[in-house]
Symmetry: C2
Subunit: 291 residues, 2 copies
């Protein structure tokens, strides 16, 4: 059976972002329930996957606590403004245990961060062994907004693709399973979402006039994404492009990619590091309290 990851993975040789339909639903199961009401189906499917994710998360956390493994998982989300990164995090991570999550949002670098290599702040934000992390934006901004706005010279950003690949490869060797997802929306959908924010005072805080300015550079951003996606989609750390105009499809697709990544790790509860019968005895002897 074809896995969703095979449908959505970026093939560096042949991938073309402009051929991906942001309204598409690739890999969607063709069942009665989906045909009847895809939104309702997705809500139930995402909740069920959420339970699977919570179970995997506990096992991953438990196995790391025993010191046996350095495995950890990171969902990395990139998108144009209004692409749905926040909504995806809320939907996909809703059922997980906050103690085992490391959620990090990246904004423009601070002065201190600017003095360091661009990967410095990223390395510090990685999940620890046993954790599930999520990045809202990432080091890819350093070949996206930085390139579109010439924030560093081309001979600097153009070397970053290789630097990113080496960095990610080293992390993979160190137990990191990276799930890199670009949420792909259309300019029309972005415009509608920006207008929606202007229609609801409870959403004003999400509206940034700068986003409208950035829309004028849409094609430059798509070109920068095309290069980032193809130059940094490797066998160990592939990129996935998820059509994201339809939120119900997006939530299902990202939850599925994350679930399948955890399933491939297949974390296990560690065995007892003590003798169970001895401990039962200790708990029934009078020198322990309260029995």
């Amino acid at each position: 059976m074809t896995q969703l990851r095979d449908v959505l993975a970026v093939d560096p040789e042949s991938f073309r972002l402009d051929k991906v339909d942001p309204k598409g639903t690739p890999g969607l199961p063709d069942t009665k329930a989906v045909r009847k009401d895809a939104k309702a189906w997705s809500k139930e499917a995402v909740a069920a996957i959420g339970s699977e994710l919570a179970a995997y998360q506990e096992k991953l956390f438990a196995s790391a606590k025993s010191g046996q493994t350095s495995r950890r998982v990171l969902l990395l989300l990139q998108a144009m403004d209004c692409g749905g990164k926040d909504g995806t995090v809320r939907s996909v991570f809703g059922g997980l245990n906050p103690t085992g999550i490391k959620a990090v949002s990246f904004g423009p670098p601070t002065d201190e961060e600017k003095r360091q290599n661009f990967l410095w702040r990223v390395e510090r934000a990685l999940p620890a062994a046993g954790q599930v992390g999520v990045f809202n934006r990432s080091h890819y901004e350093d070949v996206l907004v930085v390139r579109v706005h010439d924030l560093v010279p081309e001979n600097v950003w153009s070397r970053r693709y290789d630097q990113i690949n080496k960095f990610e490869a080293a992390q993979a060797e160190d137990g990191l399973t990276l799930v890199k997802v670009m949420l792909h929306i259309s300019p029309e959908e972005q415009r509608q979402r920006l207008l929606d924010r202007l229609d609801d005072p409870a959403k004003y805080w999400k509206y940034n006039p700068g986003d409208v300015t950035e829309r004028a550079r849409w094609d430059d951003y798509q070109a920068a994404y095309q290069d980032a996606l193809t130059r940094c989609s490797t066998v160990a750390n592939p990129w996935f492009v998820v059509p994201a105009d339809r939120k119900w499809y997006r939530n299902w697709a990202v939850a599925t990619l994350l679930r399948d990544a955890l399933a491939s790790i297949d974390p296990q509860y560690p065995p007892a590091g003590f003798d169970v019968e001895t401990e039962r005895q200790r708990l029934s002897t009078p020198d322990s309290h309260g029995s």
Copy 2:
């Protein structure tokens, strides 16, 4: 109407931990639904409070993003081993947005942490403006386990109560709303929970033989808690003791305390920092993309 916080708050003059029944349910509403099936009622009540918490969390996050406020909230959990700290976090924070949560667990200090003042690692772990934090254990361990096991001399730990009060008072001035909760279980309940962990291989990883050793010091721990609870329950930063043998009561009580803390802040969405009509116009002019 009496609020739950008034029922559970520690009065430094009169509080006696040994008079609190760990099986009690103080402040529980006396309604038909509760009398019929308190567990089922609690599950629904906690889910409903979770929705309120999520709404408050978004407003708190939004108000901080606008730079208008440094308000932030921290739930601090202390308990004897098996007291239910992890389960409480899962239950109470289940519906919140992970991006706005800062969850920190404190273990024995590292060598680096030992070289610093005991509050050093705590200050670094506080939630940022707009975040809701949760501490699983805290700086109170420095007057609990540290005192019971003489890890520092008495003239060091005995000064810490005042140091803690000053630290917390300064944070309150800086916008931190601190909800300090001790989950109070009985030694019999602890014994049962330890035995349950020995009965289920999926729970072995939570079982620590050292916990049985610590049970022999139960009364010393209770005395240390008595002092910490009364010496550090202030008007600005009161302690709450939640009877925790019944998990359904515990979850409801902690969720309610946290909800009421956020309600007293009453965070608001910030007003638009731009002209709404101008922005609508910008989004409909042809120099913006895709329309």
